[in-house]
């Protein structure tokens, strides 16, 4: 097919897939008017190289994909915990593009992400809550997450298993998402969430990653799994993050005359890096309290206020760009495998601010980090 026509079709399809108008695309791409987009999509006008670069960036794709003779594989699916009501496609495309960039910087550092998560084949329709709880416990032990799993889960997933973790402000709309594609596994976490909710999201999304291949294509296309699967993910996350013996021990240390102070409950939740609500439901499942008590506490304003006050100091924002990604991209730059301009593009900063940005991550681009030490051949 003639290049002009091929690009016209691909650009229109990609724009529509993202739900953008011609006006919006023109604005994001830095074009002076929507008429240019219209002409391009009608194959009435040749495209310059710089225009194609800008269009590809705005459409969250690669120039290579737009130019490919044969249509490339469809985008990977993204499974949402709660599908965003707005900009879903844009969020998904951005997330997938970032995962691809992450895989590229891994490749430039000769890191292969063939270290697999210990996935077990399951039939999700037959999986019971007890099965999911057991999976959670086994995964905690299998991954070596220890007694306080929330403190190291994200680190372990990212560094040991190459899960690409990104953050985006998803507001109230969607709390997290997961994906699997040629780039490996990816998780998108809501940066607007409290840190203890983020821990839970990691564990919840881990369940989706482990059972990805068992999820029906219809669910993947829809972008959301069934309510049953979501509840299984909750059971899995709860058991993974809150080991029963450890919880019992923490509880025992604080219970006096069969009572525990509100402050004690908040303390335990904080210690295990989960929300108080998650802890309460875990205690209910361990039969320490009943559903009514959980509900009562959830509705108790004094309890909520205390929780907020104690937690205020523990609030932290996740990094805008994952630290591991920054380190790998920087190392690729230092080894001459990535240009400075590309590094700035990947880190979403300007050339002017690049050095300062890197310093925030403890990296000094005026220094040579390639000096090596001999490890004795072991």
């Amino acid at each position: 097919m003639e290049l002009r026509k091929l690009l016209a079709e691909r650009i229109r399809a990609a724009r529509e897939q993202l739900g953008l108008t011609q006006n919006q695309l023109a604005e994001i791409s830095g074009f002076s008017s929507a008429q240019i987009i219209s002409q391009i999509e009608k194959a009435e006008r040749d495209i310059k190289a710089w225009e194609l670069f800008n269009l590809a960036r705005a459409l969250k794709t690669d120039v290579a994909v737009l130019l490919a003779e044969n249509a490339t594989a469809p985008m990977a699916h993204v499974l949402w915990r709660k599908t965003p009501t707005q900009n879903r496609r844009l969020l998904e495309s951005d997330f997938l593009q970032r995962c691809k960039e992450y895989a590229l910087v891994e490749k430039l550092n000769d890191i292969t992400t063939d270290t697999q998560l210990p996935v077990t084949a399951v039939d999700l329709s037959l999986l019971t809550f007890q099965d999911a709880e057991k999976m959670g416990r086994e995964m905690r032990d299998g991954l070596g997450l220890g007694n306080r799993p929330a403190s190291c889960l994200a680190n372990m997933l990212e560094n040991k298993f190459g899960v690409k973790i990104w953050y985006a402000n998803l507001g109230e709309d969607g709390s997290a998402a997961s994906t699997k594609g040629p780039f490996g596994l990816g998780v998108l976490i809501n940066s607007a969430e409290a840190p203890w909710r983020r821990s839970y999201s990691f564990a919840h999304e881990l369940f989706h990653l482990l059972t990805w291949d068992a999820v029906a294509l219809t669910d993947k296309t829809k972008g959301e799994s069934s309510g049953h699967i979501e509840k299984l993910a909750e059971a899995f996350a709860s058991n993974l993050l809150l080991p029963d013996t450890e919880i019992e021990e923490a509880l025992r240390a604080r219970v006096k005359e069969n009572k525990i102070e509100y402050a004690g409950l908040v303390e335990i939740a904080r210690e295990f890096g989960v929300s108080t609500v998650a802890l309460l439901w875990r205690l209910k499942n361990l039969h320490y309290i009943n559903s009514d008590a959980v509900q009562k506490l959830e509705d108790d304003s004094d309890f909520q206020q205390l929780d907020r006050n104690v937690r205020n100091g523990a609030w932290n924002m996740p990094p805008a760009i994952p630290e591991r990604f920054v380190r790998l991209a920087f190392r690729a730059f230092q080894n001459g495998k990535l240009s400075r301009a590309k590094l700035a593009e990947f880190l979403k900063t300007s050339l002017l601010d690049l050095s300062d940005f890197l310093l925030e991550y403890g990296l000094d681009d005026s220094k040579d980090y390639k000096t090596a030490v001999h490890t004795g051949g072991r």
Binding site: A49, D62, L67, G336, A341
Partner: protein, 190 residues
């Protein structure tokens, strides 16, 4: 393209890397430099990169348009077809880490639209691509450009990616790729 290479008598250097333009400004020799040679850059750089550098007086903006207007800088613009040609020669995965400014310049080199120009870049994969096209002699490091234009900038003052050693290392890697065909698509039968 709206410019005439035939009229150019000074050596023509393509600075497809915004960092190189910034570096020359940072060293405070831009004006003298433009007296010694003709500079070209790609339209992608002109359209996209807000060029700034840091001086003792704060951030200084480099107004590329001013230099274009006074003829110190020529803009090179590749077409979509030029760009498509580069993806016919290289595996898309190989080009992923190459910056867009460099991709535009490389596609012009493939299209033979700038036969007498020397491509100056600090982008390792772009230097490799140049060698894989069998065009090693069309590339030059910033250190070498300074040497040829009479500026004595010690390599110690230049970041490693602007040094001749960096350039030669990546040319070598590109030549090796050329031999092993790594990153290159099989030639199409005509």
């Amino acid at each position: 393209m709206g410019w005439m290479i035939a009229k150019i008598t000074k050596p023509l250097y393509i600075l497809a890397d915004a960092n190189i333009i910034i570096e020359i400004h940072r060293l405070g020799i831009w004006k003298q430099f433009t007296n010694q040679c003709q500079i070209a850059t790609t339209e992608y750089i002109v359209q996209n990169e807000a060029l700034f550098f840091r001086s003792n007086f704060g951030n200084v903006e480099i107004d590329v348009h001013e230099y274009i207007d006074n003829g110190a800088v020529i803009i090179l613009s590749a077409t979509g077809s030029d760009l498509a040609a580069i993806y016919e020669k290289f595996e898309a995965a190989f080009l992923e880490p190459v910056d867009n400014g460099e991709l535009e310049a490389l596609s012009l080199i493939i299209a033979n639209k700038i036969p007498d120009a020397l491509f100056c870049t600090a982008d390792g994969p772009a230097i490799e691509a140049l060698a894989m096209l069998g065009k090693s002699s069309a590339g030059i490091s910033l250190e070498k450009v300074f040497e040829k234009t009479g500026f004595s900038i010690s390599s110690g003052r230049l970041r490693h990616e602007y040094q001749e050693m960096f350039f030669q290392k990546h040319l070598g890697m590109g030549k090796q790729n050329f031999v092993t065909k790594f990153g290159l698509k099989p030639a199409k039968n005509k």
